[in-house]
Each structure stands twice: as C-alpha cells, then as structure tokens.
C-alpha cells in the first residue's frame, strides 16, 4: 500500500510551533506590563512555571523511565540553595541569572548521580523508599549543616533570606520552553527509546543490547538537573528559602501532578501542574478544604482512572494538523472502495 498520507515537512512544523510560542509570550508579557494581570496572579504564573518544570522533569523519571523516585524535592532544594548562595555571593548581572540556574541544575545533577548510582540498582518499592530516604537526608542536612561547618551557609530553620528576586515571566517562560524542548527531543531519539524500553521491559531491553544502567542514570540525572533549575527559579521569585519547604510533602505534591496528568505524558504534566497550581489560588475561599479535596481527588482518580488524565498520550500539534489535512482525502478514498 503506497503511502499517500500527506505529511507536514519538518521546517514548517518548527515554524508553526515557534510562531505560536512567540505569540503566547508576547501576549502574556503585554498583559503583565499593562497590569491587566495583577501582582498576585503574576506570582501564581511564576509558580505555575516552576511547577511545570518540576512535573515535566519528574515525569521523565516516572512516566518515561518507569521508576518511582520520591525525593524530587531534594533535588529542587539543592538547586535552589546552590543558585541562591552563588548569586548572593557574586551579585546580579545579565549573565549571573542564567549562570545561577545552570549552576543549580548542575549541583542537582551531581546529587542525581550520587544518589542514582546506588538507588537505581534497586527495583520498584525499594527505589521509592531509598529516594525518599535521600530526600529526607538532604532536608535534614540543609537544616543542620551550619553547625557542622562552623559558618552560616544555609541558615537552616532561620531561612536563607534576601535572595535577589531575579525570576520574571520572561526567563521563566524561556526556561519552561527549553525544558520541554530538551526532554521532548531527547525522548524522540534513540536515547529516548532506550529509556522507554527500560520502562516497558528491562530484561528485553538488555537482551537488545541497551545499556540499561547508563540510561537509567541518564534519565534520573536529567530529571534531577531540571528539578535543580526549577529550584533556582523558585528561589528567585520567593526571595527566601527554608528546608521545611522541601520535605517529603513537596515531593508528593509534584508526584500528584504527574500522576493526575498521566505518567508518561508531557502535556498531561503541563496541564496538571497548571491546574493544580492555579486552582487552589482561585479557590482561596475554600482554603481549608483544599487538601481534603486534593486527597479525595487523588484516591478517586487512582480507583477509576489510574492512568491519569491523559494516560500516556503525547501531544503533537503537527500530528493533529496532519490528521485534518488527510481527513478529506481518506474520505474520498473510502467512497472509491465502496463504489468498486
């Protein structure tokens, strides 16, 4: 059967995506600048951006790699503290902000390697438990390290304060796009397929010559890197850091976003992170019932639709456009067949 399916050429796809993203950026930026979007909503938007990066990066380790790390907040924490301490020491210039983010990401990535190498030797529940343990240890160390070091580094429970508020809509938006782009392109390559094969069937993957240890570590470390970057953005909009914000509870909050959105769906993580960040703010009146509703939602979704909102569906604008383009011609073909 000859392939008569009309496909959109690659450069056109990129052009369409680029234009749409640019348009969105300009529109929202304008709304912020002329104060249509108020200051409190502005912070919500920044917060959404950070949570999208966290959810998308955790989705890499859970949805794509098939593991269950419960210590994601730990990576966010080290990234946040590393970048905050760096910027406080070298000051704010046009290059220190991206430098801080990259530094935060790299520090988190290093922790990812240190934790990943032992942790990834374990399977399933044991991996979950050990990452939980590491996440808690990071929190406890950040809390108490100053007494060991003899000088004030993290300020522990007193909070690291006066962090320059360098995070704004523009840099958050750009980082979100870069994160999604990098993870997307990685997944649609032989490296991404290797990662997926580990999730599907690790033993078969090994039998096909896939270096499973390498790819498990790669997935885990990239996930940690972006969590660290998110942490640095977080530090940059909050202005202060406290270890108690990075406990097990935070890791679970991010996990909930990934699970509800659909583990293995990047668009699911994006939507879920947006909704679950924005909704509580919009429902401030019901603040008290928020977490109760949250937990009930979690339980109900798990019982009735465990694969989450989007399951493993990965959105592709080009694919939808192609389907539309070909709808007409396939309809024509069908009537031909019936005729003969």
């Amino acid at each position: 059967m000859k392939d008569n399916y009309k496909r959109i050429p690659m450069p056109v796809r990129y052009a369409i995506n680029f234009v749409l993203l640019l348009a969105f950026l300009l529109i929202v930026n304008e709304l912020i600048n002329n104060k249509t979007i108020s200051l409190s909503y502005y912070y919500v938007i920044l917060s959404i951006g950070v949570n999208i990066i966290l959810a998308v990066s955790l989705n890499l380790a859970t949805g794509y790699l098939g593991q269950l790390p419960l210590g994601h907040a730990g990576f966010m924490a080290v990234g946040a503290y590393a970048s905050a301490i760096l910027i406080k020491n070298i000051g704010v210039t046009w290059y220190t902000v991206p430098l801080g983010m990259i530094f935060g990401g790299l520090v988190a990535a290093i922790f990812g390697i240190i934790i990943g190498i032992p942790a990834l030797r374990l399977k399933g529940d044991y991996l979950a438990i050990i990452t939980l343990g590491f996440g808690e240890i990071i929190r406890v160390v950040l809390l108490n390290i100053d007494s060991v070091l003899g000088f004030k580094l993290t300020y522990g429970a007193a909070s690291l304060k006066n962090i320059p508020k360098t995070t704004n809509f523009l840099n958050t938006y750009i980082v979100v796009i870069i994160t999604c782009f990098v993870i997307h392109t990685m997944m649609k390559s032989r490296h991404g397929r290797a990662i997926l094969s580990i999730r599907e069937n690790e033993i078969a993957a090994e039998a096909c010559g896939i270096k499973t240890t390498y790819y498990k570590t790669l997935g885990f470390v990239v996930s940690a890197f972006f969590a660290g970057v998110a942490g640095s953005l977080y530090a940059g909009y909050l202005g202060l850091l406290n270890p108690s914000s990075f406990g097990f509870m935070k890791s679970i909050e991010i996990l909930v976003m990934v699970v509800l959105g659909g583990m293995g769906s990047m668009v699911g993580s994006v939507i879920s992170a947006t909704v679950l960040t924005a909704l509580p703010e919009a429902l401030r009146a019901f603040q008290n019932y928020r977490i109760v509703a949250y937990s009930l939602l979690l339980i109900i979704v798990m019982i009735f639709k465990p694969s989450g909102l989007m399951g493993r569906y990965d959105f592709s604008l080009s694919r939808i456009l192609e389907k539309l383009l070909n709808l007409k011609s396939s309809a024509g073909k069908k009537s031909d067949e019936r005729g003969s």
Binding site: V182, R193, A204
Partner: protein, 276 residues
Amino acid sequence: MARRDLRAPLIPERDRDKTPILECIDLGIDFGGLTAVEDFNMTLGRTEIAGLIGPNGAGKTTVFNLLTRVYKPTRGKILLEGRDIAHMNTIQVNKAGIARTFQNIRLFSDLTVLENVLIGLHNEMNYNLLSAVLRLPHYWKDEKIASNRALELLSLFGMENMAEQKAGSLPYGAQRRLEIVRALATNPSLLLLDEPAAGMNPSETAELMENIRKVRDTFQIAILLIEHDMNLVMGICEGIVVLNYGKIIAKGTPEEVRNDPVVIEAYLGKKGEVPC
C-alpha cells in the same frame, strides 16, 4: 540404531571448515543445592538450524539464560566464535552477536511496532545526546537509515503495514514474529528462539518454518530453537539436542533422535514414537 557419542559435535557439512559459532563445553549451573543443568556440551555450525528439545522443566530455557548470561554458569565454558563470553553481561553478549526471543513474549507493548524494531537497531546508530537535542544532521541521517532498515526487516515477515500499531495490540502470532524481527535488528550471528511456535495453528507454524529458513538463508546466521512442536523441530532442524533433568540424553539428526529409545522414554515413559 547406534548411540552417538554425546560429546561429538554435529555440524552440517557446509560449515565444517569454519569456526563453529557456538561451543558449550561442560556447561553447568547449580541454584543453591539444585543442579539445573550439567555436562552440557554442544557445538553449533555457522549457519546451522538446531533444536533444543526435552520435556517441560528439562532446563532448556536455563540453557538460553546461560548463553545470554542472564545466569552465570557454575561450571564450564561458552565460546562464541572462539571467544570466551564468561566475563560478559547480557548487554555485551548481545553486542557480541547473540540475540534471543522469550518464552513469555517480552515486547515493548506500549511502543509501536516500528519503535520496537528501532530499539533493536539502537547500537547500529551512533549519534549522541547532544546531536539528538539540537537535531543536528547526524540525528536525521541515522534515524532515516534506521527507519528504512526497520521497515525492510518488517517487510520480510509481511509486517510493514503494522509499523504504527502499538505492539501490545497485535494478534498473538504477529507479536511472536515481531520479537524475531526485533532480535534480528540487533544484527546477531546466533539467534535463539524460545518456543517461537507456541500457540500457533498448523498454517502459522508452516509459515514460521518458512520464515526461519528464509532468515537463515538471507542473513547466513545460526539459529538455535527451543520447541515442543515436533513438526517444526523435525521439519527444519538439522541437528537436535535432547535435554532431560538438565542433562543431554541424545544428540543427532532428526532421524536419529526420533527413533532413539531413550528420547521416547523421556517423553512418554514407555515404548512408542515421539509424537509428531
């Protein structure tokens, strides 16, 4: 019928001058106190199709697991094209040239048929992560070549039209064929098939026999298969090894094995014919 020396190799005439693809020498494995396989001696010719048969629990899949180094042998040697593979792990063994299918199908169910084969071609491509993320020309070139090769392999088994379907949604027979295609994608010199005809009806089995022969002829590789379907085994195997309780009880051509009383007894427990 004279009993063959069980240690003697059985290599087809055409392969006699070449290094055998596989030599198992006194291979054995114990699990705790239990000896699962013992005194396993086998030599396989370069382009031979051989069968490993025996009652359930005889240790056949264990042998496959030893060959692909899922298990570490307790005793003995495995030589692949003359090289000792004792120090290798499963991944290295695949790179060295052994590919396999599994008794309980192990496909990447949520990925498409094409993606399953592309994973087999993973090591045929070599662009790095940076090239992938930046979508450099190297990425596009390798992906195109791999895609074409994958479709080529799929069309050998008539599966090129299923390329975009999820592997898990395929009918059973197609899933088994896909596993073979994926294994072939890894460019092996020895293909291990674990019960490839399980669950197939006679016409599917006949088609499988055709395909196995076609694979051997096209790719000039050796194929070792575990099977319970005697039609298939007697039909395409040039040499057969019979296993019972972890030990080789007979070795030879299909004719020799079929009429060997020891084999008959192992399968039926009394005098009769090996079911065919």
